[in-house]
């Protein structure tokens, strides 16, 4: 059984070492959401945004997950909800979790620093779990920073917005990133070279995203397996509710990925 004390030590040590990197990721997410909010009047307000969205071809609408029922009245609320699936934001979150998976497992082997830890009475499972907890914590911090940026940004807008709903969207975003991180951890546990782990981790997040916007795949009976399939921030903001099934699938990806990483990492050669 992994030791909670060791998990906490690994988590804290990793967080302390990587705090600056997490700070910049979080600041970027917060600044992006703040900028989108404060620039809304400057780009022409509701009218301009709605007219632009109506010009989008179907393929682009699908790619941006613009829900058909929301397109008719694409106002500030939808516009700000859209930022939660903007390529910059999801790219930031995906890059964070992939970098944490590679940095936490593969790069530690490549650098040799893992031998300092695992030559001590620390189980490999505790090591992986400590790193995973830091990844989950970081994903939460990034999503929270994005929400805070949005909250600060909308103060200049003359609209009443459901900020609690955006917080739910932020929670779902952090869960999505953590789910992608679970897969990335599993990938990282299989490699000893950081470049390969990064490449396959990035490929996993991108391929999964692209599969979910291919209509034939997204409409197939197995579409629910894809973590991206359960991330629909505009619907969360509009309804103020989260799909429990989607939450369960994302949690399954997170727990399954980390459990698989623990299993692989626990049995493999560390060299």
């Amino acid at each position: 059984m992994p030791s909670l004390g060791d998990i906490a030590l690994i988590f804290w040590g990793t967080l302390r070492r990587k705090r600056l990197s997490l700070f910049w990721f979080a600041l970027s997410a917060g600044a992006f959401h703040w900028l989108v909010a404060v620039s809304f009047p400057a780009i022409g307000g509701t009218e301009a945004v709605t007219s632009v969205v109506r010009t989008f071809p179907d393929g682009l609408r699908t790619l941006l997950k613009l829900a058909p029922n929301l397109q008719a009245g694409f106002g500030v609320q939808d516009y700000l909800a859209f930022t939660w699936i903007h390529p910059l934001f999801i790219g930031l979150g995906a890059a964070f979790v992939v970098s944490r998976a590679t940095g936490g497992l593969t790069a530690e082997i490549e650098r040799g620093s893992i031998y300092l830890v695992l030559s001590r009475p620390v189980q490999r499972s505790s090591f992986v779990l400590g790193k995973a907890v830091e990844m989950i914590f970081g994903a939460g911090v990034i999503a929270l920073a994005a929400w805070l940026g949005l909250v600060i940004g909308v103060q200049v807008l003359p609209y009443e917005l459901p900020l609690g709903n955006y917080l739910l969207a932020a929670g779902m975003a952090s869960l999505l990133f953590a789910a992608l991180g679970g897969g990335a951890f599993f990938i990282a546990s299989c490699f000893s070279r950081a470049a390969l782990s990064d490449a396959f981790g990035a490929a996993w997040t991108i391929v999964a995203f692209v599969l979910d916007v291919i209509p034939a795949v997204a409409a197939s009976p197995l579409a629910w397996i894809n973590p991206w399939h359960h991330y629909f921030p505009q619907a969360i903001v509009a309804t103020g509710a989260i799909d429990p099934f989607g939450v369960a699938i994302l949690l399954a990806w997170l727990c399954g990925g980390v459990a698989a990483a623990v299993a692989v990492f626990g049995r493999r050669d560390l060299a």
Binding site: D6, L9, G13, R16, R17, L20, E108, R111, G112, S113, I114, Y115, L116, V117, L118, S119, R120, P121, V122, Q123, R124, G266, R267, D269, L270, A271
Partner: protein
Amino acid sequence: MIPPAISLAHVSKRYGTLDAVTDLNLTVAAGEVLGFLGPNGAGKTTTIRLLLGFLRPSAGSVRLLGHDMTDAAASLHARSRAGYVPDVAGLDPAATGLWLLDELARLQRRSPVDRDQLVDALELRAQDLRRPMGRLSRGTRQKINLIQGMQHRPDLLILDEPTEGLDPLAKRALFGLLRQAHARGATIFFSSHVLSEVEDLCDRVALIRRGRLVAVDRIDDLRAHMQRRVTVQLSRDADEAEAQLARLPDMTALQRTDDRWHFLAGDLPAVLRLLATLPVEDVIIEPPSLEDVFLQYYRPEPPHHA
């Protein structure tokens, strides 16, 4: 009965078709200092990683301080009493030495009782421990690497090329610290390719070549098995001397400089019998240095009497 500190029984490690180490059999008694010698790529680091459970053997068993290192739970007990100084520590350049040492001490679950003594002996300054390791010299980082492996006073110390990057004063200080550790009963497994270090410190040496142990013995016993270095000075030129010397059994490296003949001889009685028939003015018979031993084992065809 105290179990051996290290026990390798028929241990092999294979990567696909590559045999990294083959059929290693090695026992290191508690309290012993063993030098583990071999050229680069011979399998020293692979053996150490097998010892610590980082690698799983393809065959055979590895026991450390009596615990099976392929058993995750049992290996924790062994690792709690061991200290490891890796050849490449990969110290985080952003972390300070002090922070790293504290973190590793907490994970060790043993108090860093010897840290202050080690810091003093290795002449580390307090400010060096408070600076990010990326700004420290290689030698200073290696001192921190040594301290992390020794600060908790381990019963078994495994060192992989520990003098890399150290200046002569720091090397001397390290050997003093290792002798102290040995004196209080610690077992030391010292991997190196620097023969003089091993010669000064170790009770026994194990020589590894292309993944196989070619000799495990006391240094003196290894020397006893080896050819002596013989220098003969003849009082007058003896035309037939070279041919007679060349016919000596187990003789190699015959060279002549002026009136002196130099060679390595394995059969001393035969040498003495021959010299009695020659006009010898002076003769010097030296035991082989550890370097001679090393070189003889690492010739293309190693001796088979180990």
